[in-house]
Symmetry: C2
């Protein structure tokens, strides 16, 4: 009998490795995307990955690249803008949509110092939009710093958005009031104004846009 041909497994590739990693990170977080687990999900051994990826660091760089590809694609769909402000706003909010699809992305970008070309390019284009809006290089430079990670559509959330979730009982408010009266008052008012907001305190998207517009408005004033 001829030897049974083994199921012709699609060969690995950098691309397949990265896509597998994204899938795992999307589902279970970045820390779940270990070499062993990625290998497993591809029906291969962890060590096989090293043929397509230099090491873990290179793999993470690769994740940044696929992320930036997705952002570029999203941004290409933006409709032409009337002015620099609208252009920046649209672009950043489009980038944010990608970030929201990949909850691991902010955490990944935070830790990275790798200066991936795609990230540099993205910021170059932001500066381009500002320049065509009349920004000096100096102001554009300041603007990049002021935006910080917001330029890519996310911002540091110091409190877990889901931690404050659920109902806010009067009892909890009373306890809070003695320790942190100002936050308690704030929370009480928000709970009063929007008793249905069981998703937690805040509408993240609205808050993101508020902060973004605050910065863009400030820049506009400095640019005139």
């Amino acid at each position: 009998m001829a030897s049974q041909a083994p199921v012709p497994r699609t060969p690995l590739s950098r691309d397949r490795v990265l896509r597998a990693a994204v899938e795992i990170a999307d589902a279970d977080g970045l820390q779940a995307a270990t070499m062993r687990r990625i290998g497993e999900s591809l029906g291969a051994e962890a060590m096989s990955l090293y043929y397509h990826v230099a090491n873990k660091n290179d793999l993470l760089d690769g994740l940044v690249d696929v992320l930036m590809d997705e952002i570029t694609e999203a941004v290409d769909g933006d409709r032409p803008a009337d002015d620099w402000k609208q252009a920046l706003r649209q672009r950043i909010l489009s980038a944010r949509q990608v970030m929201l699809r990949h909850r691991w992305a902010p955490g990944l970008l935070e830790g990275r110092t790798s200066m991936r070309p795609a990230v540099v390019l993205y910021h170059d284009q932001l500066v381009g939009l500002m320049r065509s809006g009349g920004f000096s290089y100096d102001l554009a430079h300041h603007a990049l710093h002021a935006l910080g990670s917001r330029a890519l559509g996310f911002s540091q959330e110091l409190f877990d958005p889901s931690a404050g979730a659920g109902e806010v009982s009067d009892r909890m408010l009373a306890e809070l009031a003695s320790q942190v009266p100002n936050l308690a008052g704030m929370l009480a008012e928000i709970a009063h104004d929007d008793p249905e907001s069981t998703i937690g305190w805040c509408d993240d998207q609205a808050e993101f846009e508020f902060a973004l517009d605050l910065i863009l408005d400030g820049l506009e004033r400095l640019n005139s």
Copy 2:
């Protein structure tokens, strides 16, 4: 002969463990502060730490606490402020001084969702300052989001400040110019204006203050 009394090693304690961890993180980064290494630096075994600290997560929470203690201490030294804006500004810049002493702190706070009481209290006080400046709860809430991690004295740096360090040769500029013309132009101008800036592109402190003031100015306008 009486049994040789062993060197009476100071017993461990949560406090000693945390201080050892801070020392290691200051010197070699947070990732160097492993249980084994902390134990070693105290002349004990890694497993001994578990008597004073529930687990690694609890240890990291502890690090946040010592950080917040330091910030509270720094903030207490602030001179009384004339208005809410100056008060916020001083407080945030004082917090920043602590962050600069502990380069691992931003990275630690980023990842944490733990809602440490000290962090909540810090933000409560910020809101208190805003309230006494006439802020509505709603505006104060927006303000916290707009400040984000900046409220604690740091912000997301997407590029490694030290990565751009060193001289910027004309050759590098030429290479950059074709790929990222806008950034290249920006860099060229900065290098021209301040040829001595070998620390890298930017004065981080100045940029931080620029962004902070941009936000505070924006809030002031909304508050009047």
